[in-house]
Symmetry: D2
Subunit: 244 residues, 4 copies
Amino acid sequence: MIRAVVWGENYVEHTISAVAAAYPLGIHVCLRDALNADSEIDALSVTFQEQEHGLPIDLLRETDVLVWWGHALHDDVRDDVVARVHARVLEGMGLIVLHSGHFSKIFRRLLGTPASLRWREAGERERIWVVNPAHPIAAGLPPSFVIPHEEMYGEPFAIPTPDDVVFISWFEGGDVFRSGVTFSRGAGRIFYFRPGHETYPTYHQLEVQQILRNAVHWAAPSGAPWHGIEEAPHVPEPLEQIGP
Amino acid sequence: MIRAVVWGENYVEHTISAVAAAYPLGIHVCLRDALNADSEIDALSVTFQEQEHGLPIDLLRETDVLVWWGHALHDDVRDDVVARVHARVLEGMGLIVLHSGHFSKIFRRLLGTPASLRWREAGERERIWVVNPAHPIAAGLPPSFVIPHEEMYGEPFAIPTPDDVVFISWFEGGDVFRSGVTFSRGAGRIFYFRPGHETYPTYHQLEVQQILRNAVHWAAPSGAPWHGIEEAPHVPEPLEQIGP
Amino acid sequence: MIRAVVWGENYVEHTISAVAAAYPLGIHVCLRDALNADSEIDALSVTFQEQEHGLPIDLLRETDVLVWWGHALHDDVRDDVVARVHARVLEGMGLIVLHSGHFSKIFRRLLGTPASLRWREAGERERIWVVNPAHPIAAGLPPSFVIPHEEMYGEPFAIPTPDDVVFISWFEGGDVFRSGVTFSRGAGRIFYFRPGHETYPTYHQLEVQQILRNAVHWAAPSGAPWHGIEEAPHVPEPLEQIGP
Amino acid sequence: MIRAVVWGENYVEHTISAVAAAYPLGIHVCLRDALNADSEIDALSVTFQEQEHGLPIDLLRETDVLVWWGHALHDDVRDDVVARVHARVLEGMGLIVLHSGHFSKIFRRLLGTPASLRWREAGERERIWVVNPAHPIAAGLPPSFVIPHEEMYGEPFAIPTPDDVVFISWFEGGDVFRSGVTFSRGAGRIFYFRPGHETYPTYHQLEVQQILRNAVHWAAPSGAPWHGIEEAPHVPEPLEQIGP
């Protein structure tokens, strides 16, 4: 059983009526339920407003994959909580960053680059192409699928070269974007997935939900945790015996 | 001075009138002249029909960058000439593969994958986005530019993960493609550039010519040649003295 | 259950007495038995001498991971069998190439480079370091372990930049080598593992056997197969309707 | 002319007599002079103790490549100066990080990982192997060379997968290390080079000086700067006209 935690900013749901209409219980609840439709995933959701943003160290230690959706409150996320999440990713926890989370503190800290991009809200059609059909995150998908209305994100996307580009988006208005990209940092696997503007019902779409479940499976630890990755130990050994 | 050689298949120019109209002297001559507009490049062109396809070993030894355009005659290119080009790339010669050259023997041999893709000839608009604006191959370009009519190439493009994705194309008909990608094999730098369907005047376009010149500069050897890369020498040395 | 096939050249076991002593039933049998110690792996072994080198297409279609040990007979392996294995890797079959298999036709064809290296037979000590402790192939291993006597392989190793460097070897005589490296080609995962010179009992060593079992798990298909990867289909679709 | 700035911590030279003996004018002066032996490089040196650590924004704007040597005072480097250097690297300034600089704020911030490692001070022999002989940073070097006495740095080195591994070190005591690795972040090229423990005269060694000069050439901007990389502009364009 993979233990997933969905972190929701839980703010625009209360300040923009279109968001409340699309996600009456909150984006985090929609995401959580989509994950729990997979019998091998046990997902819960927490929010910005909870103590320690809902991410106490005891919970993170028991989390295999953290899913992050934030937008309006990036700057208000506590630095000590970001540091804690960062440490857990390096140790092996998977991280899935969604949509406007490209500008979250945790994503930028893990990448070392601004993760900036161009954007436009025109409700245009987005077609997502599978670039790497054999990648586990693309399992069960058609060659491409359409999200009827989405915010546009356009290149250049200021990220380090990803390990894999799984999806590239085509936008009706003339733009392209590397919409699904993977990274490894320490023992942690990271997946960024572009879609999910709050005013559209994107996370209710079946292909999107399938991708999220696939990504949780992919990002769950498959090797040993890297305990002590922050430390630089003094090691007399092996000091091979050389000569008498 | 960078010594470039443009290799042209020189066939569809003689069998399809639209190609002859777009490139009356041959695609290879258009490409050669575009390169020679750069005072640091000394380009000549050779063709499939010449002895040894115009690529005797003495010429290849003196070539810094080879540019390859082929389409209809891939299977007729002699295997010994392909092996010779392959060896020179490993040793350090740059290689720029254009458009339908994705299916050339030399490109597939260097990559180890089929380099297959989806395609459609509908004369649609192609918009090329710069994904890595700091890459030398993108120097002097705007964020995006349009080729009014082109053949569509669509993902998935069956290539190994490139070192860099420099350009991604948007097509009017709904497709995307990694249109400018780089690889290193041995000491050689390889750049694949998608545009250039024979029935359109693509290689007359200024942005395209700029990219080709940039690519020749980028692919020219900047380190030492890797002589003897095919050999596996027996080496007693260093065999550090260990013990008495 | 992962279906693994170990391919053995089965030649030096019959021509060199030290090899026969180390592997009385053949290297392939030792490898097969090491894999079958894992209850989730079902391994069988085949040899060069069988019809179609023991690799008929029907068997390959049912194989999840192929393990390859060859040395003296690389040039005698039939090209059509190599092409068949190549196609299956692109489609998704995992491939583990061992030791002198670096010069096998299949490995060089998948990489596009010579895979050359420097070597020395001095029975020296090899210490293998885990460079990526979180990689599934390194699961359960100590930070480093020693193989008491091995052939030396030294850098430069003429391979494309690997996806991951899992192991680096230190040799008593003063050399280093990227001993465990991974690649993806099409839908197939490839792992090269350096140790295993025929005159030493390397494949009887527990750490080595653990790595091989880990690698079979890692290389087994985890996404969809990429059927038709060799084809370039003409696709009228989607050809988004644009304008009237 | 490439404008290089060598940043020196300039501390252990005054607190440890062995360092003062090896570098009577400071490590930064030795490095600066080694760079200035190249007629295409114009290097100056600055130190931690100067105002703004010697790195005012006006100087950084005119700097092509920054070389960083620090060890004892990492935590005392001002965060605003680190942010300024970070921004300039993203914009295109090259950065060369030396030895204990692996733990500098700037290197860790650019990578997103701890850059931790194992270490031992035993004055042991280090042999540096060229893994990628065609890389410009390896130009003019023999296949390997020896530093007679150095501190040991051992794997695992907690960095993201580098773009290129140029050098791997062998240590007498039994360890290995990826001693020369490259990264790209935004428009900036980054090279980490391991050797240079303060109590040994490593930076007086000719091969080491050659590598540093090569690295300055390699890291100098070769494409356009990426101005505004921190910004996410709203872009109505192109918004291709679609339908009436």
